[in-house]
């Protein structure tokens, strides 16, 4: 299984890449020991979005399905976590809430994906339908301000959003409880990212990965090789959407609130910008690029929200016109050529 972490579908397969990976990971692990806890908490916030970006990269970059629905599943899982954590009474049950919330997002993706994929919705219409679902959910949640909109003890609370759920936590030594906030959330996010990243690398370099890349290139040819393209697309859509759901749970746990604005149009466009700028053709480029964009975005937004949004729009425009394959992936490929070992050649070796 482990040999699948290297393969033709992922950039960076040689010793140099993995040494760099370990150095960066080690740096990330020791960062909280010398950084301000407030900054560590901010970094945890940046990291929790990476799952959503990786999910979109899987669907769009590898399987050719441009989904505008990442915040739809982010919202379903985020609200589900809130409802479950409040009704379960918090505590260690928050991890059960996490698991159930992500499963609910996956089930929602399976239902929506089934009707789209079996209904032969493709190309630009795939984006339109997923965006429509996202907007419907955001508008629906926005009108749930009345006291009748509650599930058990949890009030949905309209545009003000749901709040009051416990963050993720587990029992700790000396009858203490470890709440995943600040540095502990940071470490949890790092651990989950490593697991998801390695899992995706193995998936993409497996037979399944070969097929979804082939589907991206030419779905009809893939079908004429005997593959049920619909099943592969659906599984990819469910995995990618469930990853958005994981981001939704971690976000809700981090802030102990979730609002419809985290689902609506501006939020739905963000993952597209991150992944397009980073390079949708590779998960490493998406992971690194999305994190860097989030850091930059958050740094600018402190001074001016408008400037940050304009920057996002400008980045998307420049990416489309100058580097349609993405800047981070482009830089990685140039670096690869400089070392006389391009990503593709490296992949084969």
């Amino acid at each position: 299984m482990l040999r699948l972490v290297n393969g033709p579908q992922t950039v960076g397969n040689g010793p140099a890449f993995w040494i760099t990976f370990l150095v960066v990971l080690a740096g990330a692990l020791i960062y909280p020991s010398f950084a301000d806890p407030y900054d560590v908490g901010n970094f945890a916030y940046f990291l929790l979005w990476v799952f959503m970006a990786l999910g979109l990269c899987l669907m769009w970059g590898y399987c050719g399905m441009l989904s505008f629905g990442q915040t739809f599943f982010f919202g379903i899982a985020g609200y589900s976590y809130g409802v479950l954590a409040i009704n379960f009474g918090g505590g260690t049950m928050t991890f059960a809430a996490l698991a159930i919330a992500v499963i609910l997002a996956a089930v929602a993706a399976a239902i929506l994906g089934y009707f789209m994929i079996w209904g032969r919705v493709g190309g630009v219409f795939f984006g339109i339908v997923t965006l429509s679902a996202t907007l419907v959910l955001a508008f629906f949640l926005g009108q749930t301000a009345g006291p009748e909109w509650r599930i058990g003890e949890a009030r949905l609370n309209g545009f003000n959003g749901m709040k009051g759920m416990d963050p993720l936590n587990i029992p700790w030594f000396d009858d203490e409880t470890l709440y995943f906030e600040g540095p502990s959330l940071y470490y949890l996010a790092i651990g989950m990212i490593v697991l998801v990243y390695m899992g995706l690398r193995m998936l993409l370099n497996s037979r399944f990965g070969n097929v979804i890349v082939a589907i991206r290139e030419d779905p009809q040819r893939a079908e004429l090789l005997g593959y049920d393209v619909r099943k592969y697309q659906l599984v990819t859509f469910v995995i990618g959407s469930a990853l958005a759901g994981l981001s939704g749970v971690l976000y809700t746990s981090w802030g102990q609130f979730i609002t419809p604005s985290s689902i609506g149009l501006p939020a739905a466009a963000m993952p597209i910008v991150w992944v397009a700028f980073s390079g949708r053709g590779d998960i490493t480029a998406t992971m690194v690029g999305s994190f860097l964009i989030l850091v930059a975005f958050q740094t600018i937004i402190v001074h001016s929200q408008q400037a940050a949004l304009i920057l996002m729009g400008a980045m998307l425009l420049v990416t489309v016109m100058v580097a349609p394959q993405g800047f981070v992936l482009g830089i990685a490929r140039v670096a690869g050529r400089l070392f006389r070992r391009g990503p593709r050649e490296g992949a084969e070796g």
Binding site: P8, N210, V213, A214, A222, L224, L225, Y227, D228, E348
Partner: protein, 240 residues
Amino acid sequence: MDDILQTRGLGKTFGGLNAVSDVDLSVATGEIHCLIGPNGAGKSTLFKLVVGTYPPTHGNIVFRGRDVTGQLPFQRVKEGMSIKMQTPSVFRELPVRQNLHVALQHHVARHELDREEQRLLELLELSGDAGKPAGALSHGQQQWLEIGMALALKPALLLLDEPTAGMSPEETFRTGELIKQLNGTGMTVLVVEHDMTFVRQIAQRVTVLHFGKVFARGSIEEILADKRVEEIYLGKPHEH
């Protein structure tokens, strides 16, 4: 000899246009069967009905004794068909070797994949281009690669829609020899073609379509001797 493929009363209507009408086609196991006809005869429509791209308006398709009329293309492939469409359809951004890998991984054991890939690359004379993106190959090489992908499935019936479109005369001849070589291993081949030189090179039996209907059928010698076939190709008036 048993028929590997039969169509019975097969038809396809687009609005008011009968593209294919009541076609009874029989392809015997082990033969090279060519489906010919002038432009607009309905050859490609019939091909798409057989492979499952189009659902028929009426009639049915029997493959290896099973009615496959309601099956999707991938299900027919699993039954033993392998298909090469008219325009080259390869995974353009993927390396040539990976194109073959995707075709082979379905039914070839992991430890035999490299050897099978290499065998096909040599057969297709693409060994030197194995690392190139398929989109960087010449038109003829892409056609060959697609034929190679179809062969990778080790089909009982190889279906080729104008496999030599856009090829030079030398490439066309080589393709014909390859098809004959495959047929020599027992593979049945159904080819849609309008290049009569190529048909003469490979065909054992021929079905001629005209205005969506079967106009003539027989051995290649019988078809070549049939003046009516010559007339429809040259556009002369005829009676039938």
